[in-house]
Symmetry: C2
Subunit: 893 residues, 2 copies
């Protein structure tokens, strides 16, 4: 054991700074921060010296009844001596005092969860030395009172408010408004009061002994590992309590010791564009807080940046050329070492540069692409590393039109960013008007959308709804179509009679222009200019590298020739889900669909279906032409039939007239078909069982279309006929027979044959459980993870908005399970179904066609389970390609 | 191998009758019928002699290219010789011909699935012998033409209709209407025509060679094993194709050879009452068909029965005393041998009794009880066997009032028998009127019921609905309450405005009397007298024996003191599910519930909840008093809140006034709460997460009530607080904390403590999958199999009627999964959850509270999985006790 009564105590404390820097780099042992500081020190960067109490000390602290043993004390003393040696200052010295920071540092970052004590080492004697050394008594006494305040809170457990109250009274007594008005003398007086508060509360004075201060702070950091908030955070992030935290004790450095001191933050490349130039800001005679708090305006780091902005204050490059050129050397050293763009904090103390932090810098999607591709060119990283460097989710930013960031805008309201992209157009309040006025460019605004609105959603440039969440009908359909969408804009009140909408005190009429930004959720007045995406250059390069390494195929969910073309441009290798119901909503067909539903018997249904057959055949033929030679998975009719009947009282008369039945009959049939829980109702393959003639017509349309395309000289596709909502093998047997019969009939009529497959969606828990049996009939499985999530979790996608946000906020679910697959729960069923399916049919084709097929985290899971392909909406195909490549690369390591 | 080229051919054919009867009894080898015939022959009963071709011959037939080898032919010849020896007739003999039947007989009964040939051995020569021997030429020629007709169909594969057409023409030519008008000469002429039809179709004559006839028939029986209908039946019943069928060849006997011949059917005891007296009917000079077809009225078997019915025709006891007394000896021999009441077919041929069949007789529930208990008294069977003998499902007949079978009745319509029992009362058309007029005894008639009707359903004696299936709201709630219910009576048209209902041309007004029979689904005009169940005597005795052997506890699903008392009388050992929402619908409380829902903030909700607290407390106290000392599982609020708001347009104004809000606010809130799929919506623990104050109030009411009951000197119950619809462990953690906090607060206030548990329903697939983790917090699991079935199969109970019947009819599902647990699918999840739950918490209490807890087949599964208890509605508690005992006994074997 590392901590066994001092036998191996040398392993407990790890120094950094100078030659004494530990060779240990384990984050498990040193924590993230400790390992990082040791790393920077080891590669010769100027890091304020210090030492790290390794994470096992934390466990030992608790195991020993919250006490420290002599071995540890001796090691910490040696650590302090190490800092004193390198800084030339002495801990607790009155003339030239060493001040230290004491910080937590767990194996993984737990931002804000644990405690930190700064300026430790100040007491009534050393404060004078700090004042003298800094030449700034006010700074010294302010630092001292801050130290007491933090220490009293963190270490002594006294209420924050007592000290804040004392400060407020001190300011009132002096008629001050701001803290900055407090003089050195004022702070000194307050320090006296603070110490009196501590003495009164504790019955003993504030510790003047700096070693007592240090051990108090170390103990407090360990205690904070078991604080309520840290425990909650650990539970939510699955961090074991046994890990413990390390403690970092490090010499303080000050950027506010006059005009040769400074502090700043910087990036080694431009994080917005990715351009290879230093980027950052700094402030002379300032502390890190000053830069962050925005009390003073920081200045540019480089001359070029200052000139480009026509700014007057000198850049650091100009004002502190020596420190700057050392900083530049450090930047290059860091990029060379970490092989990534770095985000840095630094301080210059009396001309001397100190590095306080480095980490991989956050960046825009555009910058991420450029940096990754550039670094391959620079020989810094491999193509595979470049592929791993770009956050696939962030690509979404690049694949849609975006608002011109320079353009002025009036934001009317902000709601849910349901489908990315920006769009402007005239307001319309119903789908028919949208279709009618499509040429002028419209935004469809509705309380909520239903399947009847599909043609209007297709016609519109963007969709805005008053109700519904990220996974409402509007959101799901819009993402599928690649239309920008903002949902749940509760601030909007629509007056359908007046054809107006009101947001606050702004009233807009049908035809007025608005702009929506589906990436931010903003709704804006008027037309805001947008920028079109560019999918060449770095994007194309990275995508090519991704395609070289990925194993899973990427298909698309598409049902119109236009969507199919978009998807192929984005690199789709087939269709994973071609829904057929949207075709039924087409104005030209809905009458026949309704006639089919209203028919009294099978003969009546077949007559109506015969009229639909040529329409479906031409739908499929159009799609097959675009997808020549590629697999096309077509899902037979899925939604409950009542979705095709009018929902609104006012529509019954028109529809009845069009269908040639009386209103009473139509209403009766609608009432008959009404369902309490349509999601769990008479839909999917259950329709095929009740009305096999529907599936028979659809299958015939598929095979006729495939032969038509082949006959026209095109390459035939590989139709994969998919039966939805299977729960038992027998359903599939019966419906596979319907499809096979249709195929046999068409092939016999035409004297021609094409290969095809029949398979099923796995979208019910029972289907997953029975996958071994179902695979005896199914040639492929496609995981319908939308419905599988709904049934496994018992959550309706349409109704979830009411509580799902809260569920994610409270950590009940790690993410919206309709966006990122619930791998713990739903994932078990997928894994089990894949395993059982393959056990029955070794070469069964496995794919996913739920919305998760476009979500990188979910795609990673799909790769782990060994799916053959994922299928995503057209605009998410590149994301899926990249995510599939990353999953393949991660699996290699 | 048994059938390897004749090496072991002696094993292929097994004789029965006389000393030569095989010692083999394996149904796997002989088939069910063959084994049964051998058994009867072996115990010395008069069975027409015959032989059985064992089942492996069937496989060999197919393996040998549908051919028979010489070894088999030799064995069959020996079999025929065996029959000839015992009957004194010769196969194919013109003077004294042996006729045989050739029947299939698989290991398990496959009624009607395979083919049979009777009267085989007739040809142009032997028909004359039969005519002479029977003294009835008409009978002989009729038998011959029937034989040709069957043989042509079954063996030769010729169309049935050709022969029927010929018969019709023959009758028309002679101006006959009925077959009985055909004379011997007419039949003879028809035989000629039949043979001409065969010859024309086959190009060769009908086989006159009786051996060719025999081998043809044997082959046809084997062929019928692979017929479409047999294959479908096997697939549906999971019968392996490899089993094959046996073939039984047996001497024909005739009950229509004059007045010393007869045929009959009998039971060894009265199958209606169980009384130990012979029971049956017979006909002199008749064939079995005549008894079954009802062309002639059969006579009583015994003198006692004839006299009791004041009938004139002599009983068999009187008319054929010798045959009768042999029959009586056979009855006693059979009961002694099979140790059960037998259902028998017999024939007397010229004074000689022949047994054609014996099997355990079907009986009423009452008879089953009496016979089982009597037979223990007679020393025939053990108590354990008696327990296994009574079909638990059939007990349902005994536990409810039933219609007096003697009473006259006018049946208006017949619909679904949704909840057993008979009830009479005045028609009322809404729940409020039902409550108001409850004292006069009412039947609530509605199109369909909703949770708002609960108080009316409670107030009514019976419920009748126009729409909805066996698992509709009305049916489920009625079964839970033990109210008779008839559902889906589509023939009824309700006119709410006129307060009348019409069935056919009968119009009934509110207040008119009707009677419903929930066991038959009949709706009758007026009041029909009913008979109350008696739960003493044999019933009590058998229940006591059952309780001695069962391992699983039996609880009840109940939420009123009355239901609790009923359940305890029926032997419930606790409450497995006490729903709390029904209490919220009470007229006195619904206003406060609505105020809570309409509150703008938490404070408003808490104010309303504070008014509900004393009401809930007294609800629980009343229940706890009845259930003193027993565990009571209380489920916290489960349904979505919109269920408590008015559903009907007309109700909004009244409700708004009562709640003190304006109609617009009420409608807005109702619209806000509306859900597309309420089953998958904001309900169960999701309410507790959003509004913890509701669960907190309920928990407080539970603990206060428990302490109140203890303080009143009563025994405190063991409250088990159950959180519904858990999908994640964290939900349970958060809500367990709410319950524990309430308990701690109440215990502190009262200075008193009682033990309690907190657990969860497992009713979502995800909960089952995560059971290992959830068990870390849950002290018990209760499987909510209603919802678990809905989500696992993706089927809404309320909407399933539309396709579920069809699913069962088509063999897609073996049974309604809401009645009998889908053990293949849902069962996997239960098994997995039980295993994982126990792995985490060895002593976790496991129970089931879905409706399946009262279904014997499901209870058997629960026992296999090792649940600690099942919970059933009060009236099903005895069924569950018996089923649990049977499951325990079966597990021993």
């Amino acid at each position: 054991m590392l901590v066994d009564r001092g036998n191996l105590v040398q392993a407990l404390v790890h120094k950094f700074g100078g030659q004494a820097t530990t060779s240990e780099r384990s984050k498990a042992l040193l924590g993230g921060k400790g390992a990082n500081l040791a790393e920077m020190a080891a590669i010769g960067l100027p890091v304020p010296p210090g030492f790290t109490l390794a994470t096992p000390v934390c466990a030992a602290y608790y195991a020993n009844g919250r006490a420290f043993d002599d071995g540890l004390r001796a090691q910490v003393a040696a650590g302090i001596a190490h800092i004193e040696g390198l800084t030339g200052r002495r801990f607790g010295d009155a003339a030239n005092p060493l001040l230290v920071s004491v910080r937590s540092g767990a194996r993984v970052s737990m931002p804000g969860m644990m405690d930190t004590v700064l300026n430790l080492g100040l007491n009534d004697a050393s404060v004078e030395g700090l004042a003298a050394g800094s030449g700034d008594a006010r700074f010294a006494w302010d630092s001292y009172r801050r130290f007491i305040q933090i220490y009293a809170d963190v270490v002594l457990g006294l209420p924050h408010s007592d000290f804040e109250d004392a400060l407020e009274i001190a300011k009132e007594d002096r008629d001050y408004t701001l803290d900055t008005e407090m003089t050195a003398q004022d702070w000194r007086a307050l320090v006296g009061e603070y110490k009196a508060i501590v003495a009164a509360a504790l019955g003993r004075p504030f510790p003047e002994d700096v070693h007592e201060q240090l051990w108090g702070a170390i103990g407090a950091v360990f205690e904070s590992w078991e604080s309520d908030r840290a425990r909650v955070y650990r539970r939510l992030n699955a961090i074991p309590a046994e890990w413990g935290t390390a403690v970092n004790v490090q010499a303080m450095v000050f950027g506010n010791m006059g005009d040769t001191s400074a502090t700043g933050v910087a990036f080694t490349r431009d994080p917005a564009t990715g351009t290879r130039q230093y980027y950052g800001e700094y402030l002379v005679n300032a502390q890190g807080e000053d830069v962050v708090a925005g009390l003073r305006t920081p200045h540019y780091l480089t001359r070029i940046a200052r000139e480009a902005a026509s700014a007057k204050p000198l850049s650091m490059e100009e004002a502190m050329p020596d420190a700057y050129s050392e900083l530049a050397r450090v930047f290059d050293r860091l990029e060379g070492h970490y092989r990534d763009m770095q985000d840095i904090e630094f301080t210059v103390e009396r001309g001397k540069l100190w590095m306080l932090q480095t980490r991989s810098g956050k960046r825009t999607a555009k910058a991420a692409l450029k940096i990754a591709v550039d670094m391959v060119g620079e020989g810094l990283i491999s193509k595979e590393e470049a592929v791993l460097r770009v956050d696939a989710r962030a690509l979404d930013q690049l694949l849609h039109p975006t608002l011109d960031p320079q353009a002025a805008r009036t934001v009317l309201t902000r709601a849910l960013p349901a489908s990315p992209g920006a769009a402007s157009g005239s307001i319309v309040f119903d789908a028919d008007t949208a279709a009618l006025r499509a040429n002028e460019g419209v935004i469809l605004v509705r309380v909520e959308t239903s399947p009847e609105d599909i043609h209007g959603m297709h016609a519109a440039r963007g969709i805005l709804t008053v109700r519904g969440g990220m996974t409402s009908h509007a959101a799901v359909v819009a993402r599928g179509m690649g239309r920008p969408c903002v949902c749940g804009a509760g601030a909007i009140a629509i007056d359908m009679a007046a054809r107006t909408m009101r947001i606050g005190d702004v009233t807009l009429r049908e035809g007025d222009k608005i702009t929506i930004d589906g990436a931010s959720g903003e709704v804006m007045q008027g037309v805001i200019p947008t920028i079109e995406p560019e999918l060449v250059g770095d994007f194309a390069t990275l995508m090519q590298w991704a395609d070289e390494v990925r194993h899973m195929r990427v298909r698309t969910n598409a049902e119109t020739p236009a969507d199919c073309r978009t998807a192929r441009q984005f690199g789709a290798e087939g269709i994973g889900l071609c829904r057929t119901e949207h075709m039924f909503f087409d104005a030209a067909r809905i009458t026949d669909v309704r006639a089919m539903i209203l028919a009294e018997d099978q003969a009546g249904r077949e007559a109506a279906l015969a009229r639909l057959l040529p329409e479906q055949r031409s739908d499929f033929a159009d799609i097959f032409r675009v997808m020549a030679g590629l697999p096309v998975t077509i899902r037979l009719l899925d939604p409950p039939l009542h979705e095709f009947l009018p929902q609104r009282e006012g529509d019954f008369a028109d529809v009845a007239a069009a269908a040639g039945v009386d209103v009473a009959r139509l209403k009766h049939r609608a009432a008959e078909l009404h369902e309490f829980n349509p999601m769990l109702g008479h839909r999917g393959c259950r329709l095929g069982i009740t009305y096999p003639e529907i599936y028979s017509m659809q299958a015939r349309a598929i095979f006729e279309a495939a032969l038509d395309v082949a006959a026209d000289g095109g390459e035939a596709p590989l139709p994969e006929v998919m039966i939805p909502l299977i729960a038992t093998r027998r359903e599939l047997d019966m419906l596979k027979a319907v499809v096979d019969d249709a195929a046999a009939a068409v092939f016999a009529e035409r004297g021609q044959h094409i290969p095809y497959q029949v398979g099923t969606m796995i979208e019910l828990p029972r289907a997953a459980l029975m996958a071994g049996e179902i695979a005896e009939s199914a040639q492929f499985f496609s995981f319908g993870t939308n419905d599988l999530t709904q049934t496994t979790l018992g959550v309706s996608r349409d109704d979830a908005a009411r509580f799902l946000t809260q569920y994610v906020d409270k950590g009940i679910l790690p993410a919206d399970p309709f966006v990122t697959l619930d791998t713990q729960g739903v994932g078990q069923l997928i894994d089990l179904a894949a395993t059982r399916g393959r056990a029955t049919r070794r070469d069964i084709k496995l794919g996913i066609c739920g919305e998760h097929g476009g979500d990188p985290a979910s795609i990673d899971f799909c790769a782990k389970v060994g799916l053959d392909y994922v299928s995503a909406s057209p605009y998410r195909v590149p994301i899926a390609r990249l995510a599939a490549a990353q999953a393949a690369l991660r699996a290699q390591n």
